[in-house]
Subunit: 379 residues, 4 copies
């Protein structure tokens, strides 16, 4: 049986670093049955790339992603580029028979996402989307409690995901603010996370009605030379109905002054509730109607016990994990699935499903009406 | 100058007690220029009413609201009944030339609310709606900060108001669950508060898109005799655009297991933000971009200092106020306005404005589309 | 049976107002079997006193406490003066056969406290000390949980009580900063509350070792005319052993910049723990080892349910109570005990017991050694 | 100039893993001028050691610490053993001319600690104690604010450090519960952290009075064979005076049911205050009297901005760091100091200073009196 897999990591910025770190840490802490070898680092800025490859210990580096993807020592292509390259790289990687691991959002739009899914399915290669928030121990515990019925029938879900990095009008117009590159703004970048968590915790979304907002319409170009138009959303909000009848409330923004990475979600069921916040991610709040009436309240569960998902592989109780650990867990699940011949989760179907919800929100915002996900999917 | 005003209080339950307590406390703590005299208590259950009148020290009581409203010693009619009686009592009180002070929601629907406004304006009597949340010191401070520009241009507003008293399917079908009596469910009962706060803090709402949900469709009748249909909403959610361009997100529910009276609101502006929660109502959280970058964060302001609205009339700093104090402040503002010959705030125009938003949400939920407030108002 | 009792309230400032308010509210909300009549208000500043008496509705007022205490219509003498008058008034009131209700600390020192206890016992009159914090619903619930064994054997208690009103060096030297008037500083004023709560929740304190600190040694005299020496403690801290073997950690200060009335206490037992904070007093945090390992955590109990002490007499769940409500509950317990012929709790024996602990701390601070409470009591 | 240094890591359990991880991460994220090479892993359980060495990528491993310490490829000896071996290993490593990096507490007692300090000074080798809590970004920021005068004169410091892993009476008697191995219990294990932070933030401690408590006196031996006596403290508490006149309150325990790794500290100064909690370690709370009176409150600073210590080397704002990051920062400071020819901080002098405070607490607890640190040092 194969015990090692060569990794080509495309992208060296925020997500590139998060993934590289995950491969480095998964071995000492989880000892996965399949070990990742950091074979090729790929990025556009060669000087920075050499540095990145050296620091993280990649065997080689290249500025040509095709070279990385076709490298014979590479079994797994990990895509951390800007969104406009996801489809092209993923499809080519699939054609080369590589495992494809892609950052969220899967693509700029639904059509691209579907093309990617088609490609990996036709090639018969394993595929995964890095919805890293699924891999926080508290989120895993939340799902477990819901699955076990601790909340009873789930009726209401609400979530907000607030950042403020666009409050300054002089923040430059990076690729994330250009529709052609990014597909959308906050919607594809941050709403996609909470859409995925909604699907993970509650189920499929049936229909949505939403609005998109842009508060600053021009920003300085990153490399000087004047101003550029912002043609994506700074903020998005939508209402939803899930297929199981639950209601959903979603908001995301890059304009919530003072909020840094404030993702909050709450699930209300007939017998209990839970809520969670990404700025205090080791804690899950859980309320059970089963507790005695006079001593009932949301329990502040510090999800760092040996009984908790992933936690036992790290530190003793109360010694908290950070943001990056979610990526280590994701990579561990990826490698475990590959070793066992299963497709990992969440996969490109999840990527497509989330993208369909975003597309429905976009259409809803344009046409000012409720849009079903089925309609978008062409059902 | 008149120094006293006789009060007829119609209603003896939750709101009746809150108002009676407010009249009792306003004198020792605020010494208003016009003193309230508790002249007539009015309610339907005579035995309980006698007890109520005795406990709070009303001079008289009656089960006939007409008698109360026409009583020559009464100058102020305070309406704390179920919603279906607001209009009739208020209109009659106005015709009698009494000051009218009415609990929220002003009416069951917009038409009723407008009729009430017409009546008080035609009669030329002062009028006020008891949106008590406006009178929490922290909310007053929030408005002051916004008005002074501490937040810069306001861009986003979000609020949730969560209760759970309908989670138990055996909770009886009280008047609040009957459309004919209540007008609507959570929408008119709790959403109306956050709509009013939105108007108070941010400005007029231009348009909305919303959904209403009922999770339990039948409940035991309060006096036995089987089950009754619930024809109002258990929960309501809507998106909004304000006239000034800000976005709004609103949700209210009586089905959020574990949440008791959890009203949360947040305002994001170009230069700062603030948030507040009714379960910790003495605290206002305020973030300013003006703070030094390395020492910036939401300030937890304990709004109990002499510099804070109303707080100096109570206790030393840090000795917290409760829910009921908001009513004392409301009554103080009412009596002060009357003494000075001003109409108090918020008045029936505010009641109509809030009702118009609710009506737009109802229509939006029925017709599954965005609805402007102007459309509802017939503009 | 007697159904009413005339009250003479001595003192019109912070505590005078808190007590007057309590008498006013106890009838509507608790309907005690014995009704308080506000007969005589007493204070030194006649102009303010007339105003105070008018606002709260006292029948009479006088600047001579002897007159108040001997008034034939008075059955209950309520002492809210500066500490130096507690003993003289209480003893005289006892001699007159009146019920004596005294603010904390019972006296300036242990000898005075004991003389007071002797006087009320010899006179056979009921007596109570107003340790108001015992009467917060959350504290009552805490005691109930401990008594029922929900925490198992109690092993550790820790509490801090932080204020900051002396941080400004120009804050004047009021009577609270003069040993002759106050007995001690933070020790008698605020530590006494947490000592009483320790006794209420955990049991008798056997021995202590402590330190007192004064950070600002001179302050402006209140009425001008230069500076006066501060001869009491700004802050006090001590370690303790309870008779049952539990350990205790206590700190109080008037110099904790930014802390307004921050009283925090935590109890750790062999099977559970609880903690509480006076700035969020409606919430009790409770941890039980009996919860399943993976879903264990401190429960945030919002102590406003009908099942909770006192809460059912006020508002629906989640509508929070404030600081002043603790006094209403205290007065309710006082009146109920009187009506039933019991002595109320906490009584002067509790006042003496708390004073003995303070005295032990004082002696310990002076002699720099552990001091047993027995030594202080039996010395 | 030397660019790499070989590391021998002695110990493979909790701290061994934390240090190994730190060496692995410091290169990609901080690129220190001197690179650590993981040369030798050392531990007692050979099977586990082989696994540990493989996972973290050590070149070699040995169960003989002498071999590790004398290894010619090793320049840095990192001691993560049980406390009883610290002195012997450190002294031998110093004699071999190696850099010595030692986990806290430096030793079992003051005499040992001093011997270690003497050894490294005589050998002229660099030395550091791993007080990892100093290296949380929030703690660094706290120190910066204090140093810059943002708090004014520091007057009061209080800290508690609560764990609960000994609540279960069947938890075995590991080496940490044996005086000969550990020196002391909670005192040396957890109190030493808060003593070091006190010194880091406030200054030298002049005198203490304390108490030690053991609640469970016998526990099962780890390898079966009956019960063993616990001869160390389960909990420790003490009062302190700092040399600069500030007061200190310290408590630590392994018996605080429900508290996992709850380290809380607060500093009050004449012009401001701050507090911090290790279970939410990315947040620093800071209050400034300089803020406007009506908008003053503790600021919740999320210490993840580029302006904050270390934070810029990790992730974007709001993406939180965990417990283990403090070790990465410590190792970075160690390597930077070595590269620049400075002795790192905190060093063995800090280890001795902390140990002297612990020794004073021990003596104080035995002799039931205040003990000065000078007395302990000069005795």
């Amino acid at each position: 049986m194969r015990r090692e897999i060569g990794v080509a990591l495309i992208g060296q910025r925020f997500m590139g670093r998060a993934h590289a770190n995950a491969y480095a840490k998964v071995v000492p802490f989880f000892d996965p049955p399949l070990k990742p070898l950091l074979r090729v680092a790929c990025g556009r800025d060669e000087k920075k790339l050499a540095e990145f490859a050296r620091r993280f210990g990649f065997s080689e580096y290249t500025t040509d992603w095709r070279e990385a993807v076709t490298h014979p020592g590479v079994g797994l292509v990990d895509i951390c580029t800007s969104n406009d390259l996801h489809a092209e790289i993923a499809i080519r990687a699939a054609e080369e028979g590589k495992v494809v691991f892609c950052e969220k959002p899967l693509a700029r739009d639904l059509a691209e996402a579907r093309a990617m899914l088609r490609a990996v399915e036709e090639a018969g290669v394993p595929h995964m989307v890095c919805f890293n928030y699924r891999f926080f121990p508290a989120i895993r515990l939340a799902r477990k409690l819901i699955r076990e019925g601790a909340l009873g029938e789930v009726r209401q879900f609400r979530t907000i995901y607030l950042q403020d990095w666009l409050v300054d009008p002089n923040f430059p117009r990076t690729w994330r603010l250009v529709r052609e590159k990014a597909g959308s703004g906050a919607l594809g970048d941050t709403a996609v996370h909470i859409v995925d968590l909604a699907r993970f915790l509650v189920g499929e979304i049936a229909e949505v009605v939403g609005m998109l907002s842009t508060f600053v319409h021009e920003r300085p170009l990153p490399n000087g030379g004047g101003m550029g138009r912002v043609d994506v959303d700074d903020a998005a909000a939508f209402l939803a109905r899930f297929e199981n009848g639950a209601t959903g409330l979603f908001e995301t923004t890059r304009m919530a002054t003072g909020r840094k990475n404030f993702m909050h979600l709450e699930v209300n069921g007939a017998k209990g509730s839970l809520f969670w916040n990404a700025e205090d991610p080791n804690v899950l709040w859980f309320h059970s109607e089963g507790d005695p009436a006079a001593a009932r309240g949301f329990r502040r569960i510090v999800v760092t016990e040996p009984e908790h998902p992933y936690a036992g592989s790290w530190w003793p109780p109360g010694h908290i994990l950070g943001y990056e650990h979610s990526f280590v867990h994701a990579v561990y699940e990826l490698l475990s699935a590959l070793a066992e011949g299963r497709n990992p989760e969440p996969d490109f179907r999840d990527g497509v499903a989330a993208q369909a919800v975003l597309e429905a929100v976009l259409r809803s915002a344009e046409e000012r009406r409720w849009v079903t996900v089925d309609e978008v999917l062409g059902g």
